[in-house]
């Protein structure tokens, strides 16, 4: 689904911090949305999440840097990181160029059922993105 200049694949779930999750059984692949990467600007470095680390929904678990700005990414799900995209350490711009494929952040073994996530075609999600675009002037 396209909202403005931003792409939001229909098969993913989204939070209100500009992250996405693809749920497959008890595993979630997570990353930053197209809108999120645009807000961040050119990402010169993304920290590789530590495999084995427990993460909690809404809590920062990894950092990235763009324009000398260190930002924190909040976890979209609760669980344990079982795989991390190590290529991001060398090419942070993968998140900018391909946020839903090559720019994925981590795979997480779910520790709790994801709650409060939205689908791209959910009217509530469209409203949220519209308000975010207004807030950020995007």
């Amino acid at each position: 689904m396209e909202i403005g200049d931003y792409s939001f694949p229909d098969d993913l779930l989204y939070d209100r911090e500009h992250n996405w999750a693809q749920i497959d059984g008890n595993t979630a692949t997570i990353g930053m949305t197209d809108f999120g990467q645009d807000l961040a600007g050119e990402i010169i470095y993304a920290e590789t999440p530590l495999v084995g680390r427990e993460i909690t929904f809404g809590e920062p678990f990894v950092s990235l840097e763009s324009g000398k700005w260190v930002g924190r990414i909040k976890a979209i799900v609760t669980g344990k990181i079982i795989e991390a995209n190590e290529e991001l350490e060398w090419e942070g711009t993968l998140i900018n160029d391909d946020p839903y494929e090559e720019g994925w952040l981590a795979k997480v073994e779910l520790g709790a059922e994801p709650e409060g996530l939205l689908k791209a075609n959910d009217p509530e999600f469209a409203e949220f993105i519209a308000s975010e675009r207004e807030k950020y002037g995007k």
């Binding site: 961040a40 840097e65 324009g67 000398k68 700005w69 260190v70 930002g71 002037g137």
Partner: protein
């Protein structure tokens, strides 16, 4: 918002105070200078890769990892630092990062103008003079629910010590970094012939920030900040914190001087030998080149000519120019092709 004009404070406090504010739920504008020199590295940098830690130890120069982005820098009392801590929901703080920098670097650029230097903000986060030289170091971070912006008015700068504390492969590279720093980073002292009085800088900066933040109320640091600083000192001064492996490097060694200005050294192993290329670029255009290594290059003397011939060309033209040079000058370099030289100079990925 409160204004904390702290004057000179111990170097560690000059860093930890602004780290304490967001953790205490406090906003504020802090103006200060470190009482002692130290080296400060960016949050994602690898201290051992970036800084000559042995040199710093020998010379009692402390090294600190801040939670803000950017690169390694040698700081001392010749810079007046501003540290703005503002809640992300404060209506004065634009949520967009480009706008955030634009809003809060405007008073810094205006301060330079008021002090007599025609400087302006160049997005994303540089303050530059009319001649295009950087004149302020800035960086930002999200810490808890706060945006933190730090930067400085540079009264003067110790270029020699700056390049000495950096970890670089050899003297030639260090020399290139020094020359590039001198060329691309300037100071109030260099621009005006002398640095303005300290209090004038403080007053100017505070007044210009007021035009964006509204009236600032002079305040003293509450005791709770000192307690939090003491607590943070226990974690942020450990070897574990400083030496935590962050960003790693492959064979490239890159020092960013200013936006669009870089010095890169790359070692490339060609069949004919190891090539060490050093290249300084400004907006992808070559400014200076160095080529060395254990490969053969004939006719003798043509390697130095080649280095000169590459000055002024765009990186995108590099391989083509090298091929032309080889052809025109009948170059023979067994096991080293123009493409190898281009790779050593960073034209294509050697990964």
């Amino acid at each position: 918002m409160n204004l904390y004009d702290l004057g000179r404070v111990p170097w560690l406090e000059s860093q930890l105070i602004y780290h304490a504010f967001p953790r205490l739920g406090m906003e504020g504008l802090i103006l200060l200078a470190p009482a002692e020199p130290y080296v400060c590295i960016g949050y994602h940098q690898d201290a051992e890769q970036e800084v000559d830690l042995a040199y710093c130890r020998e010379h009692d120069i402390p090294v600190f990892r801040r939670e803000v982005g950017g690169g390694a820098v040698y700081l001392d009392g010749q810079q007046l630092f501003f540290q703005l801590i503002i809640h992300r929901d404060n209506p004065l703080a634009p949520r967009d990062r480009v706008e955030f920098y634009r809003t809060f670097l405007a008073p810094v650029a205006q301060s330079y103008q008021d002090l007599g230097v025609k400087a302006h903000h160049r997005p994303v986060n540089d303050i530059i003079t009319e001649a295009g030289r950087k004149i302020s170091g800035t960086g930002a971070a999200e810490i808890d629910d706060y945006a933190v912006l730090v930067g400085n008015l540079i009264a003067d700068f110790d270029y020699e010590t700056m390049v000495r504390v950096l970890r670089v492969p050899d003297a030639k590279f260090r020399d290139k970094v020094f020359k590039s720093l001198r060329e691309n980073l300037t100071t109030l002292h260099r621009e005006l012939g002398q640095a303005p009085p300290w209090q004038t800088m403080v007053d100017t900066l505070a007044r210009n920030f007021e035009s964006v933040l509204g009236p600032l109320t002079p305040a003293e640091l509450p005791e709770v900040v000192q307690e939090k600083v003491a607590e943070l000192a226990r974690t942020h001064t450990t070897e574990e914190w400083l030496l935590a492996p962050r960003r790693r490097f492959r064979e490239d060694r890159k020092v960013k001087i200013a936006e669009g200005v870089e010095v890169v050294q790359r070692v490339h192993k060609a069949p004919g030998g190891l090539i060490r290329g050093t290249v300084e670029t400004q907006h992808r255009k070559i400014v200076a080149v160095g080529l060395s290594g254990d490969f053969f290059f004939y006719p003798a003397g043509k390697l130095a000519d080649l280095e000169q011939a590459l000055v002024g060309i765009k990186m995108a033209e590099l391989q083509h120019v090298l091929e032309e040079y080889y052809h025109t000058n009948a170059i023979e370099s067994p096991g080293v092709t123009p493409e190898d030289l281009a790779v050593a100079l960073g034209a294509a990925s050697a990964r």
